[in-house]
């Protein structure tokens, strides 16, 4: 295989991974509000929650940025500094690839309420494992590619781009895990209300006041959320999410600044430098004015 062919193949795998990754998380972002919408009484349009909207818009932005990266062959050129991947790495990637598609299928079936409903406990287990397995596949198969040493004139740009792609993947997984954690109390509270209603029906005590059941559900849901929010597991996931969001945003801005550098536009870094100088000068002027007034 010629060097050029190999580079092309690496680029293809990488490009496919990024594209599928974006598609996957975008689907999740779209599917989740539908799930929540099912429980929002009176809200037949199932409006996405505010933070989901911002997630979706962030997804779109990243999608645009990523498309620019891979469609124009930027990834290939970013990887051009590498001397070439050994065959074994490609085989490993393929193994991970197959596993990923398997998981992807399972996820989609679950998230859009597919035709094969799983039992509650299997459902939960499968999801927890999904996050874990997804992360493992990414860490073992793809992250390594991104972390390989970069060489050549553009090595620093490549590093920042690889960092951005890495943080994007971590952010998406963490966000999905967080949203799933928030979804769990909804699922559990619905199950409890269904059970209670079933028992009431058995006793012939099932009334016709729907509001009563809604109130029962909201109260149960509130209780489940309180228990979740006080748990150390939730605090850990929240911290993980905040770290991931922050790191992703920092990495994204670094790449943006690299891109802006060639345009006649100031970057955030340039502006911050000016603001800092302005801030220091203002403090100095205030201090001097005070001294003059005292004299």
């Amino acid at each position: 295989m010629s060097n050029g062919d190999q580079k092309g193949k690496e680029g293809d795998i990488f490009t496919s991974w990024m594209k599928s990754s974006i598609d996957f998380w975008t689907s999740m972002g779209k599917a989740w509000p539908d799930l929540v919408g099912m429980f929002q009484s009176g809200n037949t349009e199932s409006q996405p929650l505010e933070f989901l909207k911002s997630w979706q818009s962030m997804m779109k932005m990243s999608e645009g940025l990523m498309s620019a990266l891979y469609s124009s062959g930027t990834v290939a050129s970013a990887l051009s500094g590498l001397s070439g991947l050994p065959e074994i790495a490609l085989k490993l990637s393929k193994t991970g690839w197959d596993g990923y598609f398997h998981l992807y299928q399972q996820w989609l079936e679950k998230s859009v309420g597919g035709t094969k409903p799983s039992q509650a406990y299997v459902f939960e287990k499968l999801d927890e494992n999904t996050f874990k397995t997804w992360t493992e596949i990414y860490e073992k198969e793809f992250k390594q590619l991104l972390k390989m040493p970069k060489i050549g004139l553009s090595r620093e740009y490549q590093e920042r781009m690889a960092e951005f792609v890495d943080k994007f993947n971590v952010f998406q997984t963490t966000m999905a895990e967080f949203l799933y954690t928030l979804y769990l109390p909804i699922e559990k509270s619905v199950q409890i209300v269904q059970q209670t209603m079933g028992e009431m029906a058995k006793k012939g005590e099932l009334g016709d006041d729907f509001k009563k059941y809604y109130k029962m559900w909201i109260k149960t849901l509130e209780g489940h959320y309180m228990t979740l929010f006080k748990s150390s597991e939730y605090t850990k996931i929240l911290k993980k999410l905040l770290d991931a969001v922050e790191e992703y945003k920092i990495a994204r801005e670094e790449v943006m600044m690299d891109m802006l550098q060639n345009l006649p536009l100031p970057t955030n870094r340039d502006i911050d430098d000016v603001y800092k100088e302005l801030y220091d000068l203002k403090r100095q002027v205030r201090e001097l004015s005070r001294k003059i007034e005292q004299e």
Partner: protein
């Protein structure tokens, strides 16, 4: 096992009735939502009498004769806006203060932009608050003013009074966190894990939208679902819709918090709990609460899930003043200002407390005047 008996006919009948009622409600809702709605907030007339950078000082036009000589400055938090104190006529702390004859000033912190990310607590307390207080003192030709702080604004007011005790006559703190070492509020638990430095590095300022999301997540069942179900159930009630929209306007009007201030507040207060231990440093000076020797009225909410009583009640024991009072109202963080019951309790209590202390000063001043006159004779 026998099949459970469900009165299907009854359920279907009820469902049909509900559907009819809902249709009727939405027919009326169309008129309400498309008609003229009064949803303005902060309508009490005021004048901006001073401005420094983005920070404005509002002075409210007095309604009745002044009953308290010393003007009162209200300092709101940097999170959300001070408009909450003037939500609507008849539900306005501002109007109630004016009706009590107070000369009222309020700080409007404005909307911080990227250039404000370097502003710390020092800038807010020792520059903005100090400039505003000096302006009021100069305008009224007085040495000291009354200061009332709300939530984070209360924390700033406590810091200010400790650093500038000569400029404050009476201090009122409402839902003010000063002791952050408690597990009662979820915010106290969550903020311990936050890497504030990294957040500020990523965002510059702390985005108001993220803070709001955090507040919604404190109780998503009520704040993200039930609240809107309640809205839909009352969507044909004009007054309900107007009040609901006013509240929505206030809640989601969330300025960003200057990055450095956010970092210091999280690290020094929430994570290290330095303020109550007299270890916090602001503008190079240690904030010693024992230096607060002025009368203090400390008001907080029993059911406050953001700033629980445990975060507020230690203050009166830690300052140097003997004239202190704690009042715990049966309400939450916002209810203290907007609930009808608290509207009847909060302002009259504050006004009375200030009047008593204003009288004392007036009497002392009168006595001093009479004594000096007698001496001169």
């Amino acid at each position: 096992m026998s099949e459970p008996k469900i009165a299907v006919d009854l359920i279907l009948e009820k469902l049909a009735e509900e559907t009819e009622r809902t249709q009727e409600r939405f027919r009326k809702a169309k008129d309400v939502l498309l008609g003229k709605l009064d949803t303005d907030i902060a309508t009490t007339p005021y004048e901006v009498v001073y401005q420094i950078d983005r920070v404005k000082l509002k002075h409210y036009k007095p309604k009745v004769k002044r009953s308290i000589k010393t003007p009162l400055l209200v300092v709101y938090a940097l999170i959300n806006r001070e408009t909450m104190l003037d939500l609507q006529p008849g539900r306005s702390v501002v109007q109630n203060f004016l009706n009590e004859g107070l000369d009222l000033y309020m700080i409007d912190w404005g909307y911080p932009t990227r250039k404000d990310k370097f502003l710390g607590i020092d800038d807010h307390v020792n520059v903005y608050m100090d400039s505003v207080i000096d302006f009021i003192r100069k305008k009224h030709k007085i040495k000291k003013i009354n200061l009332m702080g709300i939530c984070m604004g209360g924390t700033f007011s406590v810091i200010y009074t400790a650093l500038h005790p000569d400029k404050i006559k009476n201090l009122i703190t409402t839902v003010t966190p000063t002791n952050f070492d408690t597990d009662k509020g979820l915010l106290h638990i969550w903020t311990r894990q936050i890497d504030a430095k990294k957040l500020v590095r990523a965002y510059g300022n702390m985005p108001g939208d993220i803070l709001n999301l955090g507040f919604l997540l404190l109780n998503p069942a009520r704040l993200m679902i039930d609240k809107y179900v309640g809205f839909l159930e009352n969507i044909d009630n004009k007054t309900f819709v107007e009040n609901f929209i006013r509240m929505e306007k206030w809640i989601f009007d969330s300025p960003d918090v200057p990055g450095e201030t956010f970092r210091q507040f999280i690290e020094d207060c929430y994570q290290k709990n330095l303020l109550i231990q007299n270890k916090m440093v602001v503008g190079g000076k240690k904030v010693d609460l024992r230096k607060i020797k002025v009368p203090l009225l400390n008001i907080y909410g029993k059911f406050d899930h953001l700033v629980p009583p445990e975060a507020c009640e230690l203050l009166t024991k830690k300052i140097g003043s003997k004239d202190t009072e704690d009042i715990c109202l049966d309400t939450g963080h916002i209810g203290i200002y907007v609930s009808s019951k608290c509207q009847r309790e909060l302002v009259p209590k504050i006004a009375q407390w200030l009047k008593e202390r204003d009288k004392t000063v007036r009497k002392t001043a009168k006595k001093k005047k009479t004594a000096s006159k007698a001496k001169a004779k």
